[in-house]
């Protein structure tokens, strides 16, 4: 599969400050989350992918195009929604989006048509003739998303798309991102410090800390793996339970009085556990799948990442 983003020993310096160092990863997922604490280098990585920051060492490629040498080709393939306020106050939304589309290479008429379409798509159809300076924060975020979509990019880079949004605005933005993902027409790189946003929208996660890659995780695989881990809690005489469950093919370990952690084999039916417990007249108080939230993954990665990878 063609990698969407490919980094090889990437390093970026601002003066003497080393912002990104030794980043090596190939991302192929449809939606990629970029996580990290403040100052981890997330925005710098995005700016490097856009060709804004000069690369000090290594390479960065987007759809196999080198960011340094084929900057314009990369920019033509990418739609970018910046983190901060970015608009032209005295222009109406439709005029602004049209100009952005034209700068991306769309002919005038097509640009106007697309501007109307994307503004309707993001939910600003009724407000498209209003000046951007009069928009609320949520509307400005949607206008930024519209300008990133207007030229039909293959990769959409969203830098903190839910920043400053109220819960309803955030929900609307997340729904839009999911809809875009589900169209299957473009890849998404979502940079956020809100783990819930990433968890709700992304398949792959990249965690940065102090400019280094400290964790790469395929959330889909993590979710699948989590399903094969079960924790049970019993009350009563449970002597020999671990051995009996192990006999069914599970790897079973006791983690405390009446508590067991099991790794289930492929195709294992949970009702087998209930059957064994019933046969032993054992009260089964709790049975739950282990669920590593993104927060667990993130905190673990940040803790482990003290020494870097």
């Amino acid at each position: 599969m063609q990698p969407v983003i490919e980094l090889r020993d990437l390093a970026v310096h601002f003066g003497k400050r080393e912002i990104l160092k030794d980043l090596t990863v190939a991302l192929t997922g449809r939606t990629i989350g970029l996580l990290g604490p403040n100052g981890a280098g997330k925005s710098t990585l995005i700016q490097t992918l856009m060709g804004f920051c000069p690369i000090s060492a290594g390479t960065a490629k987007v759809f196999e195009h080198d960011v340094s040498r084929e900057t314009n080709r990369v920019r033509a393939l990418v739609g970018y929604m910046p983190e901060n306020d970015s608009f032209i106050a005295h222009q109406s939304a439709v005029s602004f989006i049209r100009m952005m589309a034209e700068l991306s290479g769309l002919p005038r008429d097509a640009a106007l048509e697309r501007a109307h379409e994307v503004l309707y798509y993001v939910g600003l159809g009724e407000a498209r003739y209003r000046q951007l300076g009069t928009y609320s924060l949520g509307m400005k975020q949607l206008a930024k998303l519209a300008q990133a979509l207007v030229h039909g990019p293959r990769l959409l880079i969203l830098d903190e798309p839910t920043n400053g949004l109220d819960p309803a605005g955030r929900q609307r933005m997340i729904r839009l991102i999911r809809e875009i993902r589900e169209t299957g027409q473009m890849h998404l790189l979502l940079c956020s410090h809100l783990l819930r946003d990433v968890e709700e929208t992304c398949e792959e996660v990249l965690i940065l800390k102090q400019g280094r890659l400290v964790h790469y995780s395929n959330l889909e695989e993590e979710r699948r793996t989590n399903k094969s881990f079960v924790e049970i809690e019993t009350a009563g005489n449970d002597a020999g339970l671990a051995e009996e469950l192990s006999g069914l093919g599970c790897a079973c370990t006791a983690t405390g009085t009446g508590r067991y952690r099991m790794t289930l084999p492929e195709g294992f039916e949970l009702r087998e556990i209930y059957r064994v417990a019933a046969a032993r007249d054992l009260e089964l108080r709790r049975l739950s799948h282990r669920r590593d939230t993104l927060e667990d993954i993130f905190l673990k990665a940040i803790e482990e990442g003290h020494g870097g990878l």
Partner: protein, 286 residues
């Protein structure tokens, strides 16, 4: 895709050629500029003097009209280097005021609203951005300086005949080169200032200050230190020196031509450097 269908569809149509995209910015800038009635009125006012000059040229070649007004024996000023030097001085001052009015609105709003990443996240370079922003300003300034200057020259050539034209062909070159130099200086300095001062009014005031304060400060240095080097910081004096040479007219300046061209070159280099430092997709906080 019709607007009522709220599902996303990618764009697969044709694309325009990249080199011409700077004109898109120019087009939007024109639209914005001409929304101001004051700018329109001022541009119109800039044509009063050239129209007056055109009437004068016509008048001075019309013996019947002169006789009718009993001015047949009157000695009218000749249409020569001095005439065009005066024309350039007046129009250049109007062009300067037009710059202070128009230029601050070109780049400062983009910087104030953080729009730079949006421009440069597209296949659009910094050079194209500057070109796109400078084109409307340079065109407007040309419209009130060398274009009417050449029209006046053409009118004089047409009315005086081939002999005058042949003898004064250098004047056409002088009008174009002299005023185009002024247009370039004004455009680049004002864009550079506009790029560094986010507030439109402050940028406009700074454009005025650079030229007016520069001239005043230069004059003060000259009178206090009894030198002529103070004129080096007065861009008006510098340009008049160049025009004096081009129009073959001694206007009484003290700078040499080499000094004047050096100051012009230095000003342009500094303006370009200021623009290059500021026109970036993002600000590096060190």
């Amino acid at each position: 895709m019709a607007v009522y269908k709220r599902s996303y569809k990618t764009y697969c149509g044709p694309r325009t050629v990249p080199w011409g995209r700077f004109l898109i910015l120019s087009r939007y800038s024109y639209t914005h500029l001409f929304q101001s009635k004051f700018v329109l009125l001022f541009i119109s006012a800039c044509f009063f003097y050239p129209i007056g000059c055109l009437a004068f040229i016509y008048f001075s070649h019309n013996a019947q009209l002169l006789a009718l007004l009993s001015l047949g024996d009157a000695k009218l000023p000749p249409i020569d280097g001095r005439f065009f030097f005066t024309f350039s001085k007046i129009q250049s001052n109007l062009a300067f005021l037009l710059t202070a009015l128009v230029a601050p609105g070109l780049i400062s709003p983009d910087l104030a609203n953080g729009a730079m990443p949006l421009y440069f996240s597209r296949p659009f370079s910094r050079a194209q951005y500057v070109l796109g922003k400078i084109t409307p300003l340079a065109f407007l300034l040309s419209l009130v300086t060398w274009i009417p200057g050449l029209i006046l020259y053409g009118a004089q050539a047409g009315l005086s005949g081939w002999g005058w034209t042949n003898q004064n062909l250098w004047l056409a070159g002088a009008i174009f080169l002299g005023l185009f130099t002024w247009v370039t200086i004004l455009s680049l300095i004002s864009l550079a200032l506009s790029a560094w001062v986010k507030w439109k009014l402050a940028a406009g005031a700074l454009v005025l200050a650079i030229f007016v304060a520069g001239a005043g400060f230069g004059a003060a240095i000259n009178s206090v230190l009894r030198t002529h080097y103070g004129s080096l910081i007065s861009l008006n004096q510098v340009v008049y020196t160049i025009w004096g040479e081009l129009f073959r007219y001694d206007w009484g300046g003290q700078l040499s031509l080499d000094q004047a061209w050096f100051v012009v070159g230095l000003t342009l280099v500094i303006s370009l450097w200021l623009l290059a430092k500021r026109i970036r997709p993002f600000e590096v906080v060190k």
